[in-house]
C-alpha cells in the first residue's frame, strides 16, 4: 500500500515538472497560434545559464531564477521580433520550420561552445527528501510542484484581472476584433512570447538541481510539453497543468506496474485517445486563453 502511495506521489511530483515546462508553451500556442519547436532549446539555454551562474559565481539555482526570468523575457522579446514576427503573416508551416531551424542552431551552438558533456550542479538539498509516514518527498521536486501551481494561478489572475492580461485574452479570442478595439496586437504577441519564454527560463532554473544539461536535453521535455499542451487544450493553463499531472501519473504508474520501456508509448496513446473524444483537448474551445 505504501509503495502505491509513493508511486502516485512521485507521479504527481513528476507531473509538476511537465506542468512548469508546458505553461509557457500553452500561452504561446494558445495566443499566437504557433507551434514553437524551439521551446525545448529555450529550456536548454536556461539550464546552461543557471549552470554557469552556479559554476562561475556560485549562485544558487533558485536565486539564479531571479536573474534568468528577466533575461529570458528580453531573450523572448528579441527572438519574437527577429524570428517569429516575420512568420506571422505567412502560412502556418513557416513558423514551424523557422522555430525548428532556431532549435537546430541553438543545439549546435551549445555543442560548439560547451561540448557534448553532461553538466550538473550539486547543491546540498538536491537529493534531500522529506519523510512523511514512510513516504519520501524530494525537496526540489516539491519546490517545482508548488512553484508550478503558483505560476499557473498567478498567470490566471494576470490574464483575467490586468489590462495586459485582458488584451492577451482578447487577442487570442479574435485577433481582428482586438485590433478594432485598439489593442496593439503586435505588442501583445511580443509580450506573450516573452512571458512564455521567461516561464520556461524559470523552469530551467528550477530543474537544474535534478537534471543534467547537454545540447540535446530539450527534446525529452518539449515532446511531452507539446502533448500536455494539446491534450489540455491550446491556451488552457488549467488544461496544461492537469494534462501534465495526468501524463506524470500515467508515466509513473505504467513504468512501475507494466514496464519502464513502454510508458512513453502509453502516454502518447492516451494522448491520441483523449483527442479522439475531445478534438480540442480536455479544456479547449477553439481558441481561448483561460
Amino acid at each position: 500500500m505504501d509503495i502505491l502511495v509513493q508511486v502516485v506521489i512521485s507521479g504527481i511530483l513528476f507531473g509538476g515538472i511537465y506542468a512548469l515546462v508546458s505553461i509557457g508553451l500553452t500561452l504561446i500556442m494558445g495566443v499566437m497560434d504557433i507551434v514553437n519547436f524551439a521551446h525545448g532549446e529555450y529550456l536548454m539555454v536556461a539550464l546552461y545559464t543557471t549552470y554557469f551562474l552556479n559554476q562561475l559565481w556560485n549562485v544558487d539555482p533558485y536565486v539564479a531564477a531571479i536573474a534568468v526570468i528577466p533575461l529570458f523575457f528580453l531573450f523572448g522579446l528579441l527572438s519574437e521580433r527577429v524570428l517569429i514576427r516575420p512568420t506571422l503573416d505567412k502560412p502556418a508551416f513557416v513558423h514551424v520550420f523557422v522555430t525548428l531551424g532556431l532549435s537546430i542552431i541553438l543545439q549546435n551552438l551549445a555543442l560548439l561552445m560547451f561540448s557534448g558533456n553532461f553538466r550538473s550542479i550539486s547543491v546540498p538539498y538536491a537529493q534531500y527528501s522529506y519523510e512523511i509516514f514512510d513516504i519520501l518527498i524530494n525537496y526540489p521536486r516539491l519546490v517545482i510542484f508548488i512553484v508550478g501551481i503558483l505560476v499557473a494561478i498567478g498567470l490566471h489572475f494576470f490574464l483575467h484581472y490586468t489590462w495586459v492580461g485582458k488584451a492577451i485574452r482578447a487577442t487570442a479570442q479574435n485577433k481582428n476584433a482586438a485590433l478594432l478595439m485598439g489593442i496593439n496586437v503586435q505588442k501583445v504577441y511580443a509580450i506573450t512570447f516573452a512571458i512564455g519564454v521567461s516561464l520556461v527560463g524559470l523552469g530551467g532554473s528550477l530543474l537544474m538541481p535534478i537534471y543534467s544539461v547537454y545540447p540535446t536535453v530539450g527534446f525529452q521535455f518539449v515532446l511531452v510539453a507539446f502533448v500536455a499542451v494539446v491534450m489540455g487544450g491550446l491556451g488552457s493553463i488549467k488544461g496544461a497543468v492537469i494534462a501534465s499531472f495526468l501524463i506524470g501519473l500515467v508515466e509513473t504508474l505504467s513504468g512501475f506496474f507494466i514496464d519502464p520501456s513502454v510508458k512513453q508509448a502509453l502516454y502518447f496513446t492516451v494522448f491520441i485517445m483523449v483527442l479522439l473524444f475531445r478534438p480540442y483537448g480536455l479544456f479547449g474551445k477553439k481558441t481561448k486563453v483561460a
Binding site: 509503495i3 509513493q6 508511486v7 512521485s10 507521479g11 513528476f14 515538472i17 503573416d89 549546435n108 555543442l111 561540448s115 557534448g116 558533456n117 553532461f118 553538466r119 550538473s120 550539486s122 538536491a126 537529493q127 527528501s129 519520501l136 524530494n138 521536486r141 481582428n176 485590433l179 478594432l180 485598439g182 535534478i210 537534471y211 543534467s212 547537454y214 545540447p215 540535446t216 536535453v217 527534446f219 525529452q220 521535455f221 511531452v224 506524470g248 508515466e251 509513473t252 504508474l253 505504467s254 513504468g255 512501475f256 514496464d259 519502464p260 520501456s261 510508458k263 512513453q264
Partner: protein
C-alpha cells in the same frame, strides 16, 4: 479604420514581397556564395593544421593517409569527440617520433552523426580521399554502417570503440576490432560478481539477488542480451531484467520497482545522462543497493562523478581501463598514459579526460605503432595481413590486454580475442581499477 490599417499592412507586405523576389534570390545567392567562401577558408584551415606536423619532418616521403569517422555532432558527439581526440593524440606522438618509417601520418576526418551519414562519409573518404585505412566509429550502429562500405570497397577498417557483437560477427574480411566486444564486457561483469562481489558480501552466489537494468538503444540492449545469455554459466541467477529509454526524464517508477525487489547487486548498462538520473533518483527515494555495477559509458564517466560527488563513491564501472598501474604494466605505457592525459588537459583547459580518450588512443597507437610498421605495403591488403599476424602477449596495449585477431574463417573474424574489459570503482573521486588482477591497483571496497 484600424481594420483598414490591418488589411493595408497585409497587402502592402504582400506586394512588397512579390516585387522583391528577385532581390531575395540575389540575397540568397550571395549567402550561398558566402558559405562557399567560408567553406574554402575552412578547407585551408584544415590543411594548415596538417602541415604544422610535417614541418618537423624534414623528409619528403609520401605521408600515410588514414580516414577517421566519428560522431562529432548530434547526440553521440560527446563520446565520439573524446575517442577522436585520443586517436588524434596517438597520431601526433607518432609523428613527433618521426612517423612510420619516416612517413608522416595524416588524417582526413569525417563527422558521422547517424548511420546514413556514416555510410556517406565512408564513401567520401574512400572515393574522394582515396584512403585505404579507416579508424572509427565509437557507436555500434554507425560502425555497422560505415564498416559495410569499407568491406565492399576492400578498405581496412579499424574499430577502436564500438562494442556491439555484430560488428565482427558478419564474416567481413577487412574489419578489425582491437577493443573488447559487448560479449567480453558482459563476461567480465559476471566474473566480477561471482568471484569478488559474492565472497565480499559474504553470500553464497546462489542466494545473490542480481537485477539488470539497461537503456534501450544499441549499447544497452546488446550488453543486456549478452548478460542474459551468459548468466546460465554462473551459479547465480538474474532476478529481473528491465529496459528503459535513456531519453526519459522520469526514472522514479523504475527506481521504486527496483526498491521493492531489494537486490544485492544492480547491473546497469546506462549512458551518462540516465546513469546520473538513476543514481540521483535512487538517493531521493532511499534506494541503495550494496553493489552497483555500471559501465564506463555511463557510471564511469567524469560527468557522472561530478554530478554525484560523494555519492559516487563505491559504485563500480565495467569497460574501458581508466588508469595504468605502474607496478604491473610496462613503464612505457605509464609514460604514454600520462602524456595523453597531459595533452588532453592542455587542449581543454584542465578538463579531465574520459576513458574514451584512452581507448581511442590505445586503439590508434596499436595500429600506428605495432601494425603499420609490420606491414609490407601500407595498403588495405598489407595492413590486414600484418594485423592477422600480430600476436602480442598480455600487457602489450595501453588497455592491458594482448593482441590476437580472429582469422577470417573464425566465428568472430576480426575480433581481438585477447581483449578483455576492466572493472573499476570510484574511490576518493577517482576511478580505480580493481579487477582483473593484472589491471587492479586497489582492492574493491564493498560494505554490507
Amino acid at each position: 479604420m484600424a481594420r483598414e490599417t490591418w488589411n493595408h499592412f497585409f497587402t502592402k507586405k504582400g506586394s512588397e514581397h512579390m516585387m522583391s523576389n528577385q532581390r531575395l534570390l540575389a540575397v540568397l545567392l550571395m549567402a550561398m556564395l558566402l558559405v562557399g567562401v567560408v567553406a574554402g577558408c575552412g578547407g585551408t584551415q584544415e590543411s594548415a593544421g596538417d602541415t604544422q606536423g610535417s614541418s618537423q619532418d624534414q623528409q619528403v616521403k609520401d605521408p600515410i593517409i588514414i580516414g577517421t569517422i566519428f560522431p562529432l555532432s548530434g547526440p553521440l558527439a560527446l563520446n565520439g569527440k573524446d575517442t577522436f581526440d585520443g586517436v588524434e593524440i596517438a597520431r601526433q606522438i607518432i609523428n613527433e617520433r618521426g612517423g612510420i618509417e619516416g612517413r608522416e601520418v595524416k588524417f582526413v576526418s569525417a563527422d558521422a552523426p547517424d548511420p546514413t551519414a556514416a555510410t556517406q562519409e565512408a564513401d567520401r573518404l574512400i572515393q574522394e580521399k582515396k584512403v585505404q585505412i579507416i579508424i572509427g566509429t565509437q557507436s555500434s550502429s554507425l560502425s555497422l554502417a560505415a564498416s559495410a562500405v569499407a568491406e565492399r570497397n576492400k578498405v581496412f577498417y579499424w574499430e577502436v570503440e564500438g562494442i556491439a557483437d555484430g560488428i565482427t560477427g558478419r564474416g567481413f574480411k577487412y574489419i578489425f576490432r582491437p577493443t573488447f566486444s559487448a560479449q567480453m564486457m558482459a563476461t567480465q561483469m559476471l566474473n566480477f560478481v561471482e568471484k569478488v562481489v559474492a565472497p565480499e558480501l559474504g553470500k553464497d552466489p546462489k542466494d545473490l539477488k542480481v537485477i539488470l537494468v539497461h537503456e534501450d538503444s544499441g549499447f544497452g540492449t546488446s550488453t543486456a542480451k549478452n548478460i542474459e545469455a551468459q548468466v546460465s554459466n554462473y551459479s547465480f541467477q538474474l532476478m529481473d531484467s528491465q529496459s528503459y529509454s535513456a531519453k526519459s526524464a522520469e526514472l522514479s517508477s523504475l527506481v521504486l520497482s527496483l526498491k521493492a525487489k531489494n537486490p544485492d547487486v544492480l547491473l546497469a548498462a546506462s549512458y551518462v545522462n540516465d546513469a546520473i538520473l538513476l543514481a540521483r533518483t535512487s538517493k531521493e527515494l532511499g534506494f541503495k543497493p550494496p553493489v552497483t555495477i555500471g559501465t564506463t559509458a555511463g557510471h564511469g564517466t567524469p560527468d557522472f562523478v561530478k554530478a554525484l560527488g560523494e555519492d559516487a563513491a563505491g559504485i563500480f564501472a565495467a569497460g574501458i581501463l581508466s588508469s595504468v598501474s605502474p607496478a604491473k604494466m610496462k613503464p612505457e605505457f605509464k609514460a604514454l598514459f600520462d602524456e595523453v592525459t597531459k595533452r588532453y588537459k592542455e587542449k581543454y583547459n584542465g578538463k579531465e579526460p574520459s576513458v574514451n580518450v584512452y581507448n581511442g588512443f590505445s586503439g590508434a597507437w596499436l595500429l600506428l605503432h605495432d601494425v603499420l610498421p609490420r606491414a609490407q605495403n601500407i595498403d588495405a591488403e598489407g595492413v590486414r595481413e600484418a594485423a592477422l599476424e600480430l600476436d602480442l602477449p598480455e600487457g602489450s596495449t595501453l588497455m592491458g590486454y594482448g593482441v590476437k585477431f580472429a582469422g577470417p574463417d573464425q566465428e568472430n573474424a576480426g575480433q581481438n580475442t585477447s581483449a578483455f574489459a576492466a572493472v573499476m570503482q570510484w574511490q576518493d573521486g577517482k576511478l580505480v581499477p580493481v579487477f582483473p588482477d593484472i589491471l587492479a591497483q586497489k582492492n574493491p571496497v564493498i560494505q554490507e
